[in-house]
Every structure is written in structure tokens, then in C-alpha cells.
């Protein structure tokens, strides 16, 4: 009998802790129209985001500004900027929220840069084929 009471008490406790399925923030998995959506207060409905691409300088590099180009994975150019290799820096631009990878080109160096949240990092250093070294 004691166990039955305990089980009932536990059941009530769990039920009282469950989120109200009709309250804000609770996801409705069977949405048939817009008004059935459960949308968090914080959602801004944006399909784009501002990305910050951080640039890591090259030691003892020239101070001559030159062209850096950022493209998305479909080849669309998102930004062109004159930048210097001898300085840390960052550039901001708007891209679709779905953006996870950027293609960044500076002279002979082209790299894929991963975007984590709104941040990516590019370091100018070329990826060399070291097969000429022994």
C-alpha cells in the first residue's frame, strides 16, 4: 500500500512539473496553421545574421592593403574588402542564417572558413603542399 501511495505521489509530482503544452515556448508538433505555432518571445523571425570574420595577422607581413573576398558555398560574393595582413582585424557582413561555411580568398590563399554562431576566423596563411620537402 505504501508503495502505491509513493507511486501516485511521484506521478502527481512529475505531472505538475511538465510544461503546459499550450503555453508559450512549448512546441506544437502538429501545426496545421500559423496560429497554432508556439513561438518563443526571443525569436525575431530573421532569416539572416551578421557574421564577424576575424582576421589573424601574419607576423612581419607587409603593410600593403590588398583585396580579401568572401563568398558563400554557392559562389555568391558576400563582401570585398581591402585588408592588411600585418594587423589583426575583423569585418562584419550580413549573410543568410543558414550559412555554416565561407570561402575566403586573399591572393594565393583560398580557405573554407567554418562559421560558428556568428563568428569565423581567417588567418591568411597558405596551405602548402610540402611534398617538395625532404
Amino acid at each position: 500500500m505504501k508503495k502505491i501511495f509513493l507511486a501516485l505521489a511521484l506521478g502527481f509530482a512529475v505531472a505538475s512539473c511538465q510544461k503546459d503544452a499550450s503555453g508559450p515556448g512549448a512546441v506544437n508538433n502538429n501545426v496545421e496553421n500559423f496560429t497554432q505555432l508556439k513561438v518563443a518571445d526571443s525569436f525575431d523571425w530573421s532569416t539572416t545574421k551578421k557574421i564577424t570574420l576575424n582576421l589573424e595577422k601574419v607576423v612581419n607581413a607587409t603593410n600593403r592593403p590588398s583585396l580579401l573576398t568572401v563568398k558563400d558555398t554557392e559562389g555568391h560574393t558576400l563582401i570585398k574588402q581591402m585588408v592588411r595582413m600585418d594587423q589583426d582585424g575583423s569585418i562584419d557582413f550580413v549573410a543568410p542564417s543558414k550559412t555554416k561555411t565561407l570561402e575566403v580568398t586573399y591572393g594565393i590563399t583560398t580557405k573554407e572558413v567554418s562559421v560558428t554562431g556568428t563568428q569565423g576566423t581567417f588567418d591568411f596563411l597558405p596551405v602548402l603542399d610540402d611534398s617538395d620537402l625532404d
Partner: protein
Amino acid sequence: MKKISYITALLALTLTGAKAQFSENFDAYNNRNPLVANCWEFWGTDVKSNDKINGAKSTRSGQATSMTNKKQVRTPYLDIQAGATVTFTHKISRYRSQDTRILDVVLVDTDGNESSPIYTHTYSSGSVVTASFNVGTTGIYRVAMQHYGSGGQGRGHIDDLVITNATYASDPGNNCLPVVSNPDADNDGVADNQDEYPNDPARAFNTFSNGGTYGTVAFEDLWPSQGDYDFNDLIVDYRLQYISNASNEVVEIKAKYYVRAVGAGVINGFGMEFPSIPVASVSNVSGGVLSDNYISLSGNGAEAGQTNLVVIPFDNVEGVINRVGGAFYNTEAGTQEGISDTVNMTISLSTGATLAEASDLNPFLIKDRVRGQEIHLADHAPTDLANTALFGTMDDDSNIGSGRYYKTENNFPWAIMLPQKFEYPTEKTDIVTAHTKFASWAQSVGASFADWYTDQTGYRTPSNLY
């Protein structure tokens, strides 16, 4: 001590007004990559501490045991002036008298042609040798130090290179081409082959919103009442061309607007605020299609009475669309498609903006041609001319104090903006049934299906789209 002598030499040059010099001691690098980024070339050679000559690092070639496969280090292109001299130290490791080891120094011109050696040393020991010689010519060259030989084993090493009367003349962001090969007609610092306005010093680059594809703004126009969520009451495609100068400042914006659908019962207008561009930074705006006399413009063509730049592409949508009959324009399936004029606007800035500032967009619908009735994207503030007395009425749950705008109590919006052309629902079709991943996107706070609007298998119900 090595660093101090370099600084002293540099200081002495500065104080005496002597011509610039190019120098490198290789100490700052873990490998050759940073130097390659800076337009050096390494052929079978790296930067290492092994058998270094001086300081922390020297160059270290592979086995220089071929007379033809020369291991070499080439400087970036340098502008070599009259009286230029070259000084450096070099050696061969694992020297044996029965082997042949040679170092040549040659100049490489801008076409890649090598000169005959301007310095040659045939090693007779493994000791460090100091090379010092005149270049003997002027022009744009790489200086190439080449180790080669035959027999046994032996690596070449170079250190403490100083070239007087020479300046750096490569362009690392332009495939390391010599700067003389890249004329800059407008002298703005951007080589002609990268300058999209090579004869205009005020302009250098074009960048487009959404990478050059049209984006879309889609509205529900019953605000402050909730709508039917077909998001086709006004569909405006837009593309902005940002023209920036060599200092990365946007100096001009060319905007195109195209009305793709009007599923509305009232006649609306359309505006776009640039919240990060003060109107005082704008010298001229042109191209809006205004006919109904409820929009006032300032002398610069921007909307009057605004703190930030606001442009009005059209004040009456009927002035830019060409209907082919029917109450709605391009929202009912099976009806003949109407076309819109493209509204071309040009915005000239007197004070440049960053691209991020110029990309900060706040589009809005002007409901029923009543200037104060603005409908914006969720959490986008109204302009100075909006009638905020409408906030909090009907279904609107805006709260100016908390920065909450144009949302219902359930956080529903009246407008959405897409980074590509939006395939919108037909008249009175709920967007949730047309774009099948929309609900998951919204309920996950954007974490799932951020690409809900794209054309992927299972993402759309084609019969519910116009």
C-alpha cells in the same frame, strides 16, 4: 643582440634619410608559410632551427645533391634601386670535400626569367660564409638564392639577408604579382585588375545584398489586426548594390525594387529605412515613384522628418504594377500574371558607411497610404513618422520600452524578409502549409531548418505556392 643590431641599422637609416632596405632573419617563423603568405617562394626549402646559422632560425634546404633540381629561396618582388647591395650568410651542412656544393644568386624578372648569377660560391668547407655584393642593376626582381650540387648529403642554409636600396614590391592579395604589373590608373590603391571602377578614385568595388540574388520582403497588411498568414499582401523583391571605395566605405547604393504580388484589399506604399545611416550623411536620393502627395522629401531626396535615411520606393503600389485583371495581383493560381516596373533608386552618401551599416535594412509597408501606418519586420523599430498610438491596439503587442515591435501576444510577425526570391503562398493559403519546414524553423527559434524557404525535397507543397 641580433635584433638590436637590426633595429640600430633601421634607426640609422631613418635618421640619415637613407633609402629603404629589405631584410629578413627568419627568426620569427615556425615554418615557411608566413613568408609564402608574404610572397616569398621556397623551392624544396623550409625555415628551421636545425643547423641554423644565427638566432633562432635559418632557411634549410632539402638535400642539395642535384645539379639541376636547385633548392632555392626567392624573395618577394623588390623594387631594386641604384646602388643596391645584398648581404647574407650561408653554409652547407654535412660538407665533404669529395662532394660538389654550389650557391648561386640570380635575379628573377617579372616574367619569371632568371638572370645569370650575380654571385656564386663553391663550398670548400662547412663554415659559415658571408656574401656581400652589388646587385648591379635596377628594376623589379625577386632575388633567388639557389643551392645545388652532387654527391653525398648536404643541405643549404641562408640567414640574415639584407638588401639595401630595395623596397617590397609584391601584392600579396593579388596573387603576389609585382606591383608594376598592376597599374592603378586612378591611383586609389586598388590595382586595375581588381578595381571595378579603375578610372574613378572614389569607387573601387561592388558588393550586392544576398550575394547578388534578389531577396524578398513579404507582408501581412492587416496590422494591428492579425492576418491570414499567406504573407502575400505585398511581396517586394529587392537587390541593393553597394559601391565602396578603396577605404572600404560604401559611398553609393543602387537599389532595385520589384513588386511580385499584391494580395491586399487596400492600396499600400513601401519604404526602406537604413537605421545605421544618419540622413545627414546622405547627399542625394533619386528614383522613387511617388504620386500621391503624402510623402515629403528633403532637399537631398530622402524622406523629410527622419533622423535616419528613409527612402520611399513607391507610395502607391498601383503606380508600379501592371495588372491584367482580377482583384489581386499574382496571388491567385491560374490567373494571368501581371508584371511590375522595376524601381531603380540611387543613394549617394556624403559620409561613407561600412558595409555592415549599409546592410542594416528596415523595410516597411505603408498601409492604405496613411503615412503613420507602418508595418515592419518583427522587432524592427518604426521610423520617426510612424503613429505609435497604434501600438498595443487590436492584436499588436508592441512595447516601445522593451524594444518589442510588430509582434502579437503570441510573438507572431506581420512581415518576413528572405535572402532569396521567396516562393510565396497562393491567396489565403497559410504559409505553414506551403513551406512545410516553416513551423519547425519558427518553433525552434531558428535553430532547425534555417533554410526552410529553399527548394529542397520535402520543403514545399507546390500546389500551395503561386
